[in-house]
Symmetry: C2
DNA sequence: CCACTGCTTCGATAATCGTCGAAATATATG
DNA sequence: CATATATTTCGACGATTATCGAAGCAGTGG
């Protein structure tokens, strides 16, 4: 049906792994400046190649951006996309509702 | 590390499929009363067995509840869980931020 | 130019997921 | 009880995902 549905499902799927969720939370908490790959690896304690795959999945989904700075690569959250994603879940909440919106949204 | 991380990753993973995302959106929009399985099937146009598996995944993740009413089974969103999930992504946003929170959250 | 550090790509393997028809179960109705 | 409808379970399959070491590439500093 909609392209949005597929895109958002892909993004949610990208978040659907403990390591990747931890990565996203880390860069969200790091703010617009982002966090270095090495810093993330140190926190998650996983092999570099595995981390790289996870990061690629998140980048492909459009959830994180990368920026090279010398030897380091900084990853930062794409806040607008993330916001659109969380909003999407609540879109038209209770639109068929007879119970009133107060109980859920 | 944290149990929350795994739980929420599982929930996000459950949402990471177009059919399941559509199901959740449908029940969210249906409100606390929920939506019948048959109604959902009619909307998604997928075989009953496939739908059943998707629904089971969502239920296992704690995102939807089921309620039997005669021959029909109504599924409804677990709004509190859904809200906790979306909030989780933004927890401590920009806590290390020097750029000010306004730019992201 | 050589070694070093930071990260990605390759390649291979195991595990999980997605799909759907057929058969089973549950509930209502004649 | 017989039958019809609603939904789940079974079983099997191919497709995708997750993992990680080894090897490669990029940028820095001696």
């Amino acid at each position: 049906m909609s392209r949005k549905l597929d895109t958002h499902a892909k993004q949610l799927g990208a978040l659907g792994h403990p390591a990747r969720l931890a990565i996203v939370r880390h860069v969200v908490q790091a703010g617009p400046g982002g966090a270095a790959a090495g810093e993330i690896q140190a926190k998650l304690k996983i092999p570099a190649s595995t981390l790289s795959h996870h990061i690629e999945r998140l980048a492909t989904a459009g959830l994180i951006d990368s920026r090279r700075e010398g030897t380091f690569i900084y990853y930062s959250a794409v806040f607008a996309t993330l916001r659109a994603l969380t909003d999407y879940l609540w879109e038209d909440c209770c639109k068929g509702g007879e119970g009133g919106k107060s109980s859920c949204c």
